[in-house]
């Protein structure tokens, strides 16, 4: 599964993995904003941005082809709009649209591929995201796989009982029933989770095994890349 692979990537050890989550988030935001405001015909800027991403992927030791293929998931959408823009007589804009949206996707993938989600969320919280959203995201991501597996089981069970045949109306109702069962199970599971957390002394916040530290190296990393990106933009 996609997310399992990204999870696996984020466990690696490289200079990029070792950087503080806040530094990487800040660099990503600057990258995305610079990219979004780059005009379509600024080839040099776009090339420098792409080079920054490629060196990031290599530095992080991620499999380059895998990363590029995975980020291509965005292409159907942007290619469709690119084709329309092209037909409307805006060839350059179409190319830039596809290229820029692809680079953005690679950049986000580079962040989540080098930062485990708990650290990423702690970084976002340290940068001002409300605690409640961070907690929600942690629970959501943790139970996403559990509940998805349950959904798969429900579908398999329905198929075993002949759920894929029969009238459309009855299949529709069966799917609604399965969703209701999934809803109820998730609801009751949440109650159990909360009791279990209380009994283990949950204090309203998840803590990381090794705390975040924004060191000198992180500052140099952030400063250097941000300076490079901005210089490439205003050149």
């Amino acid at each position: 599964m996609h997310h399992v692979l990204v999870d696996h990537w984020s466990q690696g050890a490289s200079p990029l993995h070792a950087r503080d989550a806040r530094a990487k988030i800040l660099v990503l935001l600057v990258f995305l904003i610079v990219l979004a405001t780059t005009p379509a015909d600024a080839y040099v800027t776009l090339a420098i941005d792409a080079a920054v991403l490629v060196s990031g992927i290599l530095l992080a030791g991620l499999p380059p082809i895998s990363v590029l293929v995975r980020a291509a998931g965005i292409l159907p959408f942007s290619a469709a709009f690119g084709a329309i823009t092209w037909l409307a007589g805006d060839g350059w804009r179409a190319v830039a649209l596809i290229e820029k949206s692809y680079l953005s996707a690679v950049a986000v993938l580079l962040l989540v591929g080098t930062t485990p989600l708990p650290r990423l969320l702690s970084g976002l919280e340290a940068l001002g995201t409300p605690r409640i959203l961070v907690l929600l995201a942690q629970f959501l991501y943790r139970y996403l796989f559990v509940i998805s597996e349950q959904a798969q089981h429900l579908q398999l069970a329905a198929a075993c009982r002949g759920g894929s045949s029969g009238r459309r109306q009855s299949r529709f109702r069966a799917a609604a029933g399965a969703l209701a069962v999934l809803f109820a199970r998730s609801y009751y599971r949440a109650e159990g989770i909360h009791r279990a957390m209380l009994s283990r002394g949950f204090g309203g916040r998840f803590s990381l095994l090794n705390p975040m530290r924004f060191g000198a190296l992180d500052a140099v990393f952030t400063g250097a890349i941000v300076a490079l990106l901005i210089m490439a933009r205003v050149q």
Partner: protein, 299 residues
Amino acid sequence: MHIPDNFLATPVWATLDAISAGAVGVTIRRAGRDLPDTRIPLLGVMGAFVFAAQMINFPVGAGTSGHLVGGALLACTIGPAPAVLVMTTILAIQAFVFQDGGVLALGANVFNMAVAGVLAGYLPFRLLGASRRGLAIFTGGFLSVLVSGSLALSELLISGVRMPRALVFTSFGLFAMNALIEGAITISVVQALDKLNPGFVQKPAASTGRILVVCGCVALLLGAAGFLIASSAPDAIQNLGQTLGISTQPAFQTPMANYTAGKFESAWLRRATAGLTGLLLICGLCAAGARMIARRRSA
């Protein structure tokens, strides 16, 4: 309907990021009062449920299938304010982990689907839920998807993404069909939930004040305005974008594009675009007003 990065013009995503941050902030303050820490695991797990629900296919005929989007279902089970937060979290995880929707465009996606979609989906339930519950829930599912789609399309048009009129019509047709499917799925899931435990679906009168109703109406109006203007004259929104200086003049313009731009500059269109701008302003004012009220109450 997840808008990736670089499709929206900078002023559009920046404004929507600001509006969404404000709206979600207000919701957290509002929800924070009625929401004990005990409910947080529940909301997170329900978010995972909505994610996983996309794996269960509903046959809709002609060999195709649809799946639950979930905004309206969440709004009438866990309440509108928590539903906004859960949908926001889902969109954030989709943007970061699955690259489904952009990070800069997250504000736009949150505004379309988590704020406007959930509020528009909750509105019929709040107003009609006591007397005609089934109809209200169906309409809620329908409106939540239609408003989200209409807003997303308007934002793309206002950012200068060029779309021929036929395509705008096709997109609206698809949105309307998806919206009907969402309505049907929502009501049949609610009926099945009633059989399991009638307590899952909230009593509409039990919760919420007027602010939510007003915001829901505004979301609905915005969606409707986007629908009417975009379907009657997509160029109008693009022209609005250009006159406001939002979308840059394309580097290469075909004579045809110039021709249509000239043709559509009628008094009616100017009025219509002014109307849309006004609606946007009202929405901003509503968000600001709600924030002030929330601050005064929590103080």
